[in-house]
Symmetry: C2
């Protein structure tokens, strides 16, 4: 993985307390902004990114050179309109695009590696709230995120209820299920089984656990797509051949696609970050943080909520969103909920779903 | 993996032609039998095993010491009643429990390794039919199998229509979907990424690609269980602790369970066999073998068919069974179809589902 430099870095002046009881000092938060902040600072929207996402929501990724991951949603005249809103997107702590994570230097000048403390979704949000404090933004117009971004959105709403007027959680869940944990565990075991992982001490060596990280990414990638979507996109079509090779090359297009996803990922992501962030997601259980009752997380909540799910998302299926909405209703919160129909599975929140654009635009208006 | 000796081995006298165009010579088929063969040889039932199954359907596994994999179904007075039927179960070629596979000796006295020819489901069935020929069993009372066993059942019915009076296909499909292929590809990549794999030349060395094989098994295992089943069995319960460790141990029961499944598997299964058998399954497309029309596979078929699916099986969902049944109906075949309700996902065919017992017993009567 190459090093990336974020365009802006906020140095959190105070130590960041973590759910584990540990404290993280000298935290950097790398972030991007789009659009002008209004004089009364009332037009800021915080976008929270997903597991392998980053702050480059609507600008070119410095390593891949690819467009931002939500350029179809964020920009002038788009649903999250940068002509109207000041959009902030920060790399979460634990990640590897400029914010403090396992690849960062610890106090002894060596990379943290696996000495980095295990963090939670709430710890990530602590970092984001510290950034908002630094930017002197008291109340966001909205906090928005899909997948793990949605977990941060719910965590921010539950733990800092005064910080956002609107809370938009897309394709997400208030808790990681046994199946969610299981898939992440496969990925972690794939990384840890790679001899190049070396207990996380591979920084500065010539070889990172790329093979293991690629397998982890491949397994996860399957969960991001629907069965129907895979069938429609690839079916049983062969790759660059008319008849099967009767060998172990990537005969099928879906194999070739997965290998490409796996190897491309290792160029832009750090394996230890993958371990830490998946762990944070697995630990996520918003009800458990609030006495076992999800409704308690949202008691007397002042914000307006919007929850969106996709009918083909089997990673965080609609039932999980409904669970959140029931809790919000039980807490008397203002919430609208919509299940959208889209063929792409979990990844629908990143793809061309015009109905999503309309709901997002309407909710932020 | 330890070596296993089957109680009986049939040496196929003639070379076995394969779909790849290659020919396999000196094939051994390891098999077990249960119950007496009647004088007119009319009471034989062939049971076909799944990906990681073997011939020990109702007898103790020689490596693990565990009971046979279908002891609840096969035995005196059980649905597949060995007081009435002569049950045959053979290890498929490509596997590692005594039948010829990549761990077997090639003509040069060295293990085949990856020089073993890529085989198909139909090739496996060629081996089984050779065994039936050797045993002089012309027509089976029934051929029965679940999962990959069901693929063999359908392949035998389509290609050797006179060899079985009854055809019972459980929790299976007539073709591997893009998602099915994708999961298998993750497993293969995990094995091949393990440096101990050494391009398949690990036999006789001190180390096999156990770490990669364990990851492959873990990923596959998730697909064998339903989301609801995982939630019911494990939920988010912690393993041997009250609070999370904030580390990378198996905090959650589901992690501990998966690790156990992965490491246990490497003791009884050969990584190269896993590559070859998953490849055979991925190549399986019964319609494609028959001019692109599944109904052609069953034209004027003399047998009675029974197709069984499970409502929580997301690996080979009911829609795949329905697809088979439509083809059988279109071909004018005698077929009954039932979708059973069971909470266990794909693994339901191996577990305590009384309705399955009743359907199997009734169909074989």
């Amino acid at each position: 993985m190459a090093n990336a430099t974020a365009s802006k870095t906020y140095k959190v002046p105070q130590p960041l307390p973590l759910d584990s009881g540990q404290v993280l000092e000298g935290v950097d938060i790398a972030y991007e902004t789009y659009g002008e902040l209004s004089e009364d600072k009332s037009n800021a929207i915080l976008i929270c990114h997903a597991l392998t996402g980053d702050q480059y929501v609507a600008s070119t990724h410095p390593i891949t050179g690819k467009p931002g991951w939500w350029e179809r949603m964020v920009g002038p005249g788009l649903p999250i309109d940068t002509d109207r809103f000041h959009v902030i997107c920060a790399n979460v702590i634990g990640s590897c695009l400029g914010s403090t994570g396992p690849a960062s230097e610890a106090a002894d000048g060596q990379p943290w590696g696996m000495r980095f403390p295990v963090i939670t979704i709430r710890d990530m949000v602590r970092g984001l709230v510290a950034l908002l404090d630094g930017l002197e933004i008291g109340k966001l117009h909205a906090v928005v995120g899909g997948s793990m971004g949605g977990m941060q959105v719910l965590s921010l709403a539950a733990n800092w209820p005064e910080r956002a007027e609107r809370v938009l959680a897309i394709a997400t869940t208030a808790r990681h299920s046994a199946q969610n944990i299981a898939f992440h565990e496969v990925g972690r075991q794939a990384i840890m089984a790679d001899p190049n992982w070396q207990d996380g001490n591979y920084y500065g060596s010539n070889s990172a656990p790329d093979a293991g990280l690629a397998v982890a990414r491949m397994a996860a990638h399957i969960t991001y797509l629907s069965e129907e979507g895979l069938t429609e996109k690839f079916g049983r079509r062969l790759q660059d051949r008319e008849v099967p090779s009767f060998g172990f090359d990537a005969d099928f297009q879906v194999e070739s696609y997965l290998r490409y996803q796996g190897s491309g990922f290792t160029r832009r992501f750090d394996a230890n970050s993958y371990l830490y962030i998946t762990r944070a997601m697995d630990y996520f259980d918003l009800a458990e943080e609030h006495g076992g009752m999800l409704a308690n997380a949202f008691a007397n909540h002042p914000a307006r909520f919007c929850v969106i799910s996709f009918d083909t998302d089997w990673l965080y299926p609609t039932a999980e969103s409904r669970h959140v909405v029931h809790a919000l209703n039980a807490a008397g919160a203002k919430v609208s909920f919509v299940e959208l129909s889209a063929p792409y599975g979990h990844d629908s929140f990143l793809l061309d779903v015009p109905a999503l654009d309309r709901v997002v635009k309407g909710f932020l208006a």
